[in-house]
């Protein structure tokens, strides 16, 4: 029993004096062969390239945006018009629009993601589980242009009725107010409710639900089996067990998944662009025609942009980049803080 592996270092064996003492101090690690040196250098190099690409994104956006930011200064954050060629531009309107679309999307996506995650991890039959997981993954990979098509050509016509209903009965809440809509006029066309933040939000919600769902499901499925069985053995129902064990354990995953979804919702471009009709003023009424977002602005204006206009768009892109980065870091730090920190791989 006194066999001590030579060269493994850190003599944690029970009898350290049993080690063959040949005077020379042993290296705690094995000898690195030349081919390994090259190999490790190559691996480190690929890591460095990836790191460089990722850091360069921020660096170059800042570098290109500097010109426009130097002209606009702080008015960049407070101006809502976008006329870079007359030096009158800012992201107040588009940033508000982005946040509104993101928040609408996440409010709709969280119950959907939570329900699906709970169903897959707690209720679904074992055989069905893998199929359901890959269907949710498939939904995450449906191209955004397809969601945009569906939203613009199919969903819009069905949702305007709902928008009208909400604005008629809940119009006293400022967010649901619609200017220019008269609920007592039966002949009024529904165009005032089309292309709104709400419709874009629904479509974006469907796009971010799978991501939020897979993060949540992952943490739920890691809830310790002992605690689950303990709750059941104490006579809890399945829902009682979920409330007492799974949800508290997966709280980090729920918040992290929500934030991750929010970050994705902020960055969504094409589906939003296909649905909204852009306005360049702060538009807090989510049911009303007209919305905007930073990414839609970039896609809309890059084609006709002058050099300075491009720099201004880069500045808008930088703002979006920083916004998603902050949301993402909050997401990962929250997800890592809970007991279930290890389980946040989407």
């Amino acid at each position: 029993m006194s066999v001590v592996a030579p060269g493994l270092g850190q003599s944690s064996g029970p009898e350290p004096e049993a080690r063959p003492d040949d005077g020379a101090k042993r290296a705690p690690r094995g000898r690195i062969e030349p081919v390994d040196r090259v190999f490790r250098a190559a691996l480190g190099g690929s890591g460095a390239i990836v790191l460089a690409i990722m850091l360069l994104v921020g660096v170059f956006l800042t570098y290109r945006a500097a010109q426009a930011l130097g002209v606009a200064k702080f008015s960049f954050l407070t101006t809502s018009a976008w006329e870079p060629d007359s030096r009158h531009f800012g992201i107040a309107a588009v940033l508000t629009g982005t946040v509104l679309i993101g928040v609408t999307a996440i409010v709709l996506a969280v119950p959907l993601a939570l329900g699906t995650a709970l169903y897959i991890s707690e209720y679904a039959p074992r055989r069905l589980r893998r199929t359901l997981i890959s269907l949710v993954d498939l939904m995450a990979a449906v191209p955004s242009v397809v969601f945009g098509l569906w939203g613009a050509f199919f969903l819009q016509g069905h949702v305007v009725g709902l928008s009208r209903w909400i604005s008629t009965y809940f119009g006293w809440i400022p967010v649901f107010q619609v200017d220019g809509a008269d609920p007592h006029d039966p002949l009024q066309a529904n165009t005032v409710y089309t292309s709104s933040t709400f419709i874009a939000g629904i479509v974006v919600a469907l796009m971010v639900t799978p991501i939020a769902c897979s993060v949540m499901r992952e943490t739920f499925s890691q809830a310790p089996a002992g605690e689950r069985e303990g709750a059941l053995a104490l006579g809890s129902t399945r829902w009682g067990m979920i409330r007492a064990v799974v949800l508290p354990y997966g709280r980090g995953g729920v918040i992290g998944g929500t934030m991750l979804g929010l970050g994705r919702a902020f960055g969504e471009t094409i589906a939003v662009y296909m649905i909204i009709s852009p306005v360049f003023e702060v538009q807090p009424h989510i049911l009303q025609n007209g919305a905007n977002s930073v990414s839609a602005l970039i896609a809309l204006r890059y084609g006709s942009a002058s050099d300075f206009g491009m720099s201004a768009l880069m500045a808008a892109g930088l703002a979006l980049f920083l916004l998603t980065l902050v949301v993402n870091f909050i997401a990962s730090s929250i997800a890592a803080r809970g007991r279930s920190g290890a389980g946040t791989e989407a």
Partner: protein, 407 residues
């Protein structure tokens, strides 16, 4: 304490179960399934009741005509009726349990229904363009807005998509996989930093990657807007996704395999090449395929870095080169019905491509590292049997080299 009570009641003597008077009929097997008849009846009853009630409400009582409203009212009535039905047999806790189960299940059904609706709607609206063979063989350079679906097609977009995705895969697969190996094989503070940055970049808005490539490759290196630039933008977008998925898969390779390889004296490079990568092969393939599926559907980076063209441009090095999602986006902006039909056609084609990639990923991967399919297991068993046979034959030959005729 119980025995005390028993003793008192029975006057100090131990009570034994009456063996002779015992019911000798065989015990009926307990029903252990979690599905009971009353549950099914409750669900059915609630469904029928809610449909009937909401139909009554919508047809007879109130002048409502919205399908969405009907579905919502019927669903709310269904949940309410189900709760009432269950409360006839069960207590409050059980009612809450059952209602919660119904709620979560219906949310999952809703999500999947939306997925099916999106996919089917796209394929259905795309069918009118897809039935024309010229849709796959012609481009749009000589097709005007008023020409019927029998002319023009999206071959330029198909070629563009395939070329761009191939170039970006050629860059991202070696880089992404070696970075994932790096994260696992050279652990330390540096690797942790790289991992944090990569994780933060998985949510990089795709339009920002387009802007980045525009700012660097097009403005600084002076390369034209082209399919190559678009491929680079797609690559920047796919890279974090592939690295993250591959990192998770490589982390799952059992440590015992790695240690066995080291114990046999293999170098790190040998271990990675002959043990870790083959073990994680199916998972790595899945990671790459899923990254491809994400990259193939991205529109905005291609819009910014390559642009829209109507003719076939097979050279990714120069000139705008459209891709399938971009063609969809461009075509449906037109008010012409034929253009919109072509847009749906290319969306359907794109969707079919993504579905194909997913089926591939499902067939190849989805298995943990080291988990084998039935055929693979069978082949391994066969190989090991052959080895055993070979070794015994050899041992026999060696033990009796002087008597070859004794076999």
């Amino acid at each position: 304490m119980t025995t005390d009570l028993l003793n008192k009641q029975a006057g100090g003597t131990t009570v034994r179960p009456d063996r002779d008077g015992r019911d000798e009929t065989p015990e009926v097997r307990r029903h252990t399934s979690s599905l009971h008849t009353s549950d099914v009846l409750g669900l059915l009853g609630a469904a029928v009741g809610s449909l009937a009630l909401s139909a009554l409400l919508f047809v007879w009582i109130a002048p409502f005509d919205s399908i969405l409203g009907f579905v919502v009212v019927a669903y709310l009535l269904f949940v309410g009726l189900y709760a009432v039905l269950v409360s006839f047999d069960e207590n409050g806790v059980a009612v809450r349990d059952k209602v919660a189960a119904v709620l979560w299940q219906s949310l999952a059904v809703l999500l999947l229904a939306v997925l099916v609706m999106v996919v089917v709607y796209t394929l259905w609206r795309g069918r009118s363009a897809l039935v024309h063979l010229n849709f796959f063989t012609e481009d749009m350079s000589r097709t005007g807005p008023l020409q019927p679906l029998g002319e023009g097609g999206v071959v330029h977009a198909i070629v563009g998509t395939l070329e761009q995705i191939s170039i970006s895969l050629a860059v991202t697969v070696p880089l992404g996989l070696s970075c994932a190996v790096f994260l696992n094989e050279v652990p330390g503070r540096y690797a942790r930093f790289v991992r944090t940055i990569v994780e933060a970049m998985t949510a990089l808005p795709s339009i920002v990657t387009g802007l980045f490539i525009y700012a660097t490759v097009i403005l600084i290196l002076g390369i034209d807007k082209s399919g190559f630039a678009a491929a680079l933008a797609l690559g920047v977008m796919m890279l974090p996704i592939i690295i993250r998925a591959a990192d998770v898969v490589i982390r799952l390779v059992p440590g015992s395999l790695r240690e066995a390889s080291y114990a046999l004296g293999a170098s790190r490079w040998r271990t990675v090449w002959t043990v870790i990568l083959p073990t994680a092969r199916s998972g790595l393939t899945t990671a790459v395929i899923l990254g491809t599926a994400r990259g193939i559907g991205e529109t905005s980076p291609v819009l910014l870095t390559s642009g829209i063209n109507a003719g076939l441009n097979a050279d990714p090095g120069s000139g705008p080169q459209i891709s399938l999602p971009l063609a969809t986006f461009d075509l449906v902006r037109s008010p012409q019905p034929a253009y919109i039909a072509r847009g749906f056609g290319s969306a359907a084609l794109l969707m079919a491509l993504v579905l194909l990639l997913f089926v591939l990923a499902r067939v190849i991967g989805g298995r943990g590292p080291g988990e084998l399919t039935r055929n693979q297991r069978h082949r391994r068993v066969q190989a090991s049997r052959r080895d055993v046979a070979r070794m015994t034959r050899r041992a026999r030959l060696r033990s009796a080299p002087t008597a070859p005729g004794s076999d």
